[in-house]
Amino acid sequence: MNITLKVWRQNGPNQPGDFATYAAENISPEMSFLEMLDTVNEKLIAANEVPIEFDHDCREGICGTCSLMIDGIPHGPQRSTATCQLHMRKFQDGDVITIEPWRAAGFPIVRDLVVDRSAFDRIIESGGFITVPTGSAPDANLILVPKDASDAAMDAAACIGCGACVAACPNGAAQLFTAAKIGHLNLLPQGQPERWARTVNMVDTMEEYFGACTNIAECASACPQDISIDFIALMNSDYVRGKVKQRRLTGQMS
């Protein structure tokens, strides 16, 4: 296959960027999208041109490092698939593919296709945990967790923190990420003592960095892990209860 790439090149955070056009020739349909970029980079190096910087690591769809906007869609055209798991057989010979970084105010560009997603870490630091000093936990089977609750928590916990939801949102909002993190912990018995404070702190921190949610739901379509927007509803409900109701009732509300 022969493909034409239009790739965003930008030397640094506060520098102007622009699209550069590259030919990707003799691409095997078996290649992953990132392996295709590897071969383009090899050719750039051979031609004494600085290779394209892009974030990637596990290439198994689980670490959440890869982050490419492919033809305007986060992670490209295949649903429920991170960029690293996208293969060239999903494209046609002769295609022109536009590759951009995540575009969101909360994710400043570092270089080329690489962005800074550390605002996500700030959200977790503000409350995305269950406080358990090392060694203080009771026997694991003393905490009974109904299978339904455990499965629902797992659905939320599957979030890989890639930021596709933010990139997909016209408002650059991080509701789906934050809701997945909150949902994972708030659905479990272990997460109840800190439930209301966690929700309020995380939502408030999220709003320092990201835009507002207007229920467009692009986030859920872009999510490589199919996180449901139902978790946003759960988060909003917990946020209201956390803000409005009396916190001293913590632990007594269901």
Binding site: M31, R59, G128, K147
Partner: protein, 638 residues
């Protein structure tokens, strides 16, 4: 140099208790006077840093990722072992200890492994309390499954992403400490040198990967939790950035490197599809619970799987190992697959795989059950290969996956450099010559949560009321300029070939000569080929761009340069070990029916290597392994 393993005296079962009673303590109010540096934020690093922070130490933690949550622990699929015996099937701390020693082919330390088995139960308690969504039974209790090399169900799991869920647990514990201010988190920061003063570790040199800025950091103790070196092989299941630089830099500063040739080649990976393959993808070993492995009887059989009649299929693991069948340990399964492919029985377009077939399980249990167990793995397989494993058998082939070797550490997890610790996959300690499935996550968290937070105090107590060595000390300036010079050297070579080209060539040598089987002639050839390729690298590598920006080629150049030296040590260690054990299979040492031939009289030791310079050979130090609680037997899975 004699190696002091510092194993406490007394019966095996009392060693850890007696150690904890006799060790020196740092009082709670004194902990804030100490500073500890942790490199790496995988399971071991994140859990150690979080625990240090909770105890009150001042912690600086560094990761080259953009977030601690991305460390490669995340990719572990299958599960984590513990001796809970929740299923009442005869498991116990002693059985987990015994299975791990036996699985490691009697090349690990009894005391360390027993401690690992002891704390395994606390890990499950800790992680469950943190909200790790382990699989549950309908009554709300925890579910378990079984893994290769054992005959009990002791593996806890969270769908096919146990590693991600455990890492999120320790990352969240770490994030809490960052929020509280006890831990300083440095992301996109790569450690490039350990700093020593008077023979003791006093700090590190770090490069900011986005600005190229080189900085120095001092502390009372330095912990390396930087994972393994499977990427020396180029094609492995490790993430692209996984590297051996931190432990290699430590080795060059005097920390000894043990059992470098003990590498694990995992049997269930998706075979390479073309020459541009950048990495290999693992399919969880848990698939071997329900999948049957086979190849066509006839060499060069070109028929599709469905066209090969039952009578012409060779279920070679079930045939050779009737009692363990498809669940033999990883090293045995990998070698058996290689033998089939070497006999031209490989399947798939490139004839580089064996089948893992779910047809019989689907017939027996129904497709729904198989979907519930493995759907995410099946989907992943289909995304990569475009084949549907519900209908066509999976194709699998072994790939480098884990390294049992690593920095030598004593019972306290301290390297031969005082004040320098190594935990998780980065050390050599617990898995001997072969690691059992679902034991890597266990070891990472054992070291980070339940061992190092105790043992580090025993060292720090001796430095109460002393400040860390100032970064104004000349040792820091020297280390900093050595790092800067090395980076400038890479960009100034201006050769003709990319870093990846050299890495791929190195990988070919290593997988060929120091992979699933090794031989004297092959290893000797590798020991002349690798230095030649290395010399070419230093003359002909092309690293474009500058130091002062994000520059992934420059990052890779340093890592590959270190892989050259590490790869050489792997071969040297393999050449020295004239026996077959675990993942190390020397062609000269096998039984008549092709099984590994261990030589306990001559090789029941840890081979610990000491750096003497690039142009001279390293010195071999031996730590004899003494087995007082298990009898050395020939592993048999028949």
């Amino acid at each position: 140099m004699t190696l002091e393993s510092n194993i406490p005296a007394g019966p095996l079962k009392e060693k850890w208790d007696s150690y904890r009673f006799n060790m020196k303590l740092v009082a709670p109010t004194n902990k804030r006077k100490f500073k500890i540096i942790v490199i790496g934020t995988g399971l071991a690093g994140a859990s150690a840093a979080a625990s240090f922070g909770e105890l009150g130490y001042n912690v600086d933690v560094f990761t080259y990722h953009d977030s601690p949550r991305r460390a490669h622990s995340i990719a572990a699929q299958g599960g984590i072992n513990a001796a809970k015996n929740y299923h009442g099937d005869g498991d116990s701390v002693f059985r987990l200890f015994y299975d791990t020693i036996k699985g490691g082919d009697y090349r690990s330390r009894e005391a360390n492994v027993y401690r690992l088995a002891e704390v395994s139960n606390e890990i499950i308690d800790q992680c469950t309390a943190q909200g790790v969504p382990f699989a549950r039974e309908y009554g709300g209790l925890l579910d378990n499954r079984s893994f290769g090399g054992v005959q009990v169900s002791r593996t806890f799991y969270a769908r096919g992403q146990t590693g991600q869920q455990l890492l999120i647990g320790s990352y969240q514990a770490l994030a809490r400490q960052v929020g509280l201010g006890t831990v300083n988190l440095h992301t996109r920061s790569e450690m490039l040198e350990v700093v020593l003063k008077d023979g003791r570790a006093v700090g590190v040199v770090v490069r900011d990967l986005t600005t190229g800025e080189i900085s120095t950091h001092s502390a009372h103790a330095v912990v390396l939790a930087t994972g393994g070196y499977s990427n020396a092989y180029y094609l492995s299941t490790n993430a692209m950035a996984c590297n051996g630089t931190a432990i290699w830099r430590a080795y060059r500063k005097g920390a000894q490197f043990a059992n470098a040739s003990f590498t694990q080649i995992h049997p269930t990976c998706i075979p390479a599809s073309d020459e541009f393959q950048s990495k290999l993808t693992l399919m969880s070993e848990s698939l071997r619970n329900d999948g049957r492995i086979w190849v066509p009887d006839k060499a060069g059989d070109g028929r599709a799987a469905a066209d090969v009649p039952e009578a012409e299929r060779d279920y070679y693991l079930e045939r050779r190992y009737p009692s363990f069948g498809n669940l033999v340990p990883r090293d045995v399964a990998s070698r058996a697959a290689k033998q089939q492919i070497d006999q031209s029985k490989g399947v798939g377009p490139l004839h580089n795989g064996v089948y893992l077939d779910f047809r019989d399980s689907i017939q027996r249990l129904g497709r729904e059950v198989i979907e519930a167990r493995y759907s995410n793995l099946f989907e992943m397989y289909e995304r990569i290969t475009d084949e549907n494993p519900y209908e066509v058998p999976m194709r699998i082939y072994p790939a480098p996956h884990y390294t049992m070797g690593g920095l030598w550490v004593d019972y306290e997890l301290m390297t031969t450099v005082p004040g320098l610790y190594s935990i998780g996959e980065a050390n050599f300690s617990d898995h001997g010559a072969n690691r059992l499935g679902a034991s890597a996550l266990m070891q990472g968290l054992a070291d980070g949560y339940f061992v190092l937070p105790y043992t580090v105090g025993n060292y720090l107590a001796g430095y109460l009321n002393t400040d860390p060595i100032s970064t104004d000390d000349p040792v820091f300036a020297q280390a900093e300029s050595a790092v800067s010079d090395r980076l400038k050297m890479f960009t100034s070579i201006k050769g003709s070939r990319s870093v990846d080209w050299f890495h791929r060539e190195l990988g070919k040598i290593l997988i060929e000569q120091c992979g699933m089987t090794r031989s004297q002639t092959g290893l000797e050839k590798a020991l002349s080929d690798i230095p030649a390729l290395r010399d070419e690298f230093y003359q002909d590598v092309r690293v474009l761009g500058e130091n002062e920006t994000l520059n992934q080629s420059l990052e890779k150049a340093g890592r590959v340069a270190d892989f050259f030296e590490l790869g050489e040590l792997m071969c040297r260690d393999a050449l020295n070990r004239e026996e077959s054990c675990g993942g190390h299979f020397r062609e000269e040492y096998q039984t008549e029916d092709g099984e590994a031939l261990r030589r306990d009289d001559d090789f029941a030791y840890v081979a610990s290597w000491e750096w003497t310079g690039r142009e001279s050979e390293p010195v071999l130090n031996k730590e004899a392994l003494e087995f007082e609680n298990v009898a050395l037997t020939t592993r048999s899975y028949k």
